[in-house]
């Protein structure tokens, strides 16, 4: 069956450092992946997405890397700020499933001043 999971439940970094949040998936039949950020008491917020035919995509201060060989996805956050403290979820989607997303378990990122 399909599943998406994260390597670590928590990650603590110092302000200004780079953060790397990892995600592993088991089903290679994925069309795209999305990273979401969820702050306490709020709904998930879109960060960045990547289609399965890509290896890398960059946004503002964020980079997503996709390694299909080992079925691994990572989110890199440059110069992490206190406002980046949140739970981060990866999710995978299949176009044949319409718009359904399967979420992995979250990683709690804590940024220490």
């Amino acid at each position: 069956g399909e599943s998406v999971g994260l390597h670590l439940p928590t990650l603590s970094v110092q302000e200004g450092d780079n953060s790397i949040i990892n995600c592993a998936y088991s089903n290679s039949a994925s069309d795209y992946f999305i990273w979401y950020k969820q702050e306490s008491g709020k709904g998930p917020q879109f960060i960045i997405d990547i289609r399965s035919n890509m290896d890398k995509r960059q946004g503002q201060r964020v980079t997503v890397l996709l390694n299909k060989t080992v079925k691994h996805l990572s989110l890199q956050i440059a110069a992490t700020q206190p406002g980046d403290s949140a739970v981060y979820f990866c999710a995978r989607g299949l176009e044949t499933s319409g718009s359904r997303l399967t979420f992995g378990e979250g990683t709690q990122l804590t940024v220490n001043p």
Partner: protein, 115 residues
């Protein structure tokens, strides 16, 4: 400007007493979703509407129902809430874009407490 609005933000109901959560959107998206999220867990899809077509997840209990009277509104009905149904309920929308990704826009959620 709020794009996906959920009301109420906090809802307390009694065990077994029907409750309805509402969601509205100003994005004119054709797909609307309901997720259940329990503490420290990933959102779990309950069902979604693709336009007027209802798509139920296989493991969603019959206790959960949904209605979508028009493009803008979608409701989650819990017919007989149990203690295990206490959770955050998230509504999301997306625009179907073949060849693109399906970014989902989430509302702030309704936190349901069952007493």
């Amino acid at each position: 400007d709020a794009m996906v609005i959920q009301n109420p933000r906090y809802q307390v109901t009694q065990f077994g007493k029907p409750v309805t959560l509402s969601c509205s959107q100003t994005l004119n998206h054709n797909v609307m979703y309901w997720y259940q999220q329990k503490s420290s867990q990933a959102p779990k899809l309950l069902f979604h509407y693709y336009d007027k077509d209802f798509n139920n997840e296989a493991d969603t209990p019959d206790n959960f129902q949904s209605r979508r009277p028009n493009t803008s509104f979608c409701f989650l009905d819990i017919r007989s809430p149990g203690l295990g149904d206490a959770a955050m309920y998230l509504c999301a929308t997306s625009r179907d874009r073949r060849g693109g990704t399906y970014e989902q826009y989430f509302g702030p959620g309704t936190r349901l407490t069952v007493t």
